[in-house]
Amino acid sequence: MKPIIQLIATATATLAFATSVIAAPAPATQEAPDQLVKRISADVIETVKADKEIQAGNRNKIMDLVNSKILPYVDSEKMTSMAAGRFWRQATPEQQKQLSDEFRTLLVYTYSGALSQIKNETVEFKPMRADPADTEVEVRSQVNVTRGEPITLNYRLAKSPEGWKIYDINVLGAWLVETYKGNFAAEINKGGIDGLIKKLTERNRQLSSKPLKAPK
């Protein structure tokens, strides 16, 4: 009896899911997390290498790239909630939403500069150590640069109803969320959740009016 119910439930869920994503950029549920990261990363690098305007620092085009190819696979709410730590549960749902929106915008601004600088780097993925039953995994890679030591670039992903989503990245050994924790806590201690939101909003406004520096 049980398997049949399960089957029906799964079928319904799959159907519901299938209809809900037809319009969206279709994140494939069955795609393994390391495959997902490999695909996004190859896609982004190819796009940047083929697009002279992105290389020249055209902000709108970079934003398009980030919005269409990266953000659908990022769980910015989970990211923000972890960076806020114990303060997250003290925030109202509206505050939580504002906070994750502003944090996501900040990350988009700061990392879009880095994207325009992709040149001859290649990305090498390391074998993933994970159990198929895991709902959180780490995908490890390194960026090989033309000179100097390779740059560590690791990702943490969690399984969500819409497939795997990235919620933390590690650059050169430091996790993004962990690095922001101290900053968030200090701002919240100074001015509460709203103080942090205000600070992020201000920073984003400054960054939006500042032109992207053309890479040399």
Partner: protein, 256 residues
């Protein structure tokens, strides 16, 4: 002998505890000297703003790319030998031999290290210093220390720094004028490679001091474990425990 062993494991437990508490308390168990450190940070930062960064920008904008690559290869090569020694001290024979081979190759066929042909031959560079070696040997990093001129460090790495300075072949260069010029070019070159990263940092951080500290401490720890995590800390699920711990920790006092 047995008690010695016990002592070692007690030290290790203490080290682990230090690292863990550094992890769970946001403001900030590993930074008891924050007041001093912030002052040093401001000092370094001012120096950087008025002298180092402008000089590095000029260096980067005016010198042809191949010259810059040559300079950074040359000093990189000098550091490879010491990296090799440290890798061997850490018991990483293969990596150590790679570094030694790199040094031998680049110093000869690579014209005194100006060309990094070893990298092109697939011999990867590792940067290892004595602080990392001490870390591998089980010495805890201790509190965060912002050193004048040298920048972010920890107590362990500060203690290890004289060994790195002593082992730097450039130190023994005579005449003095050449040595000083070389050292200046080296610092300028290192700063130049960081220009983009420091701009990014400026935009990303809400409080640059804390951001650099929290990033640096993680990076240092990951370097000791060569990109892995210390035993028992390699699962992402660990984060939930950490959050729970943060919950239990006393409310941090505002640092500013």
């Amino acid at each position: 002998m047995a008690s010695n062993k016990k002592k070692t494991s007690a030290t290790l437990a203490l080290a682990a505890a230090c690292v863990l508490t550094g992890y769970v308390t946001p403001a900030h168990a590993q930074d008891p000297f924050e007041h001093f450190n912030r002052a040093m940070f401001t000092f370094n930062d001012t120096l950087d703003r008025v002298a180092l960064k402008p000089a590095a920008s000029v260096y980067k904008d005016t010198l042809p790319g191949f010259v810059q690559t040559g300079v950074s290869n040359f000093f990189g090569n000098l550091s490879d030998a010491w990296s090799g020694v440290n890798n061997l001290l850490q018991g990483k024979g293969a990596a150590g031999m790679t570094d030694v081979t790199r040094f031998a190759f680049n110093s000869t066929f690579g014209i005194l290290g100006l060309l990094d042909i070893a990298s092109e031959a697939g011999l990867q560079k590792h940067n290892e210093d004595f602080g990392q070696t001490l870390g591998v040997w089980g010495v805890p990093s201790g509190p965060y220390v912002m050193l004048p001129l040298f920048g972010p460090s920890t107590l362990r790495d500060t203690v290890a720094l004289p060994a790195d300075v002593w082992a730097d072949p450039w130190r023994y260069k005579v005449p003095v004028a050449l040595r000083t010029t070389g050292a200046a070019v080296r610092v300028g070159d290192q700063r130049a490679t960081l220009l983009d990263a420091s701009d990014l940092l400026e935009e990303a951080a809400l409080d640059r001091y804390a951001f650099i500290r929290d990033g640096y401490l993680q990076r240092r720890e990951s370097r000791v474990y060569d990109g892995g995590s210390p035993p028992g800390k390699d699962r992402p699920e660990q984060d939930d425990d950490r959050l729970a711990n943060v919950e239990a920790a006393p409310k941090p006092v505002s640092s500013e």
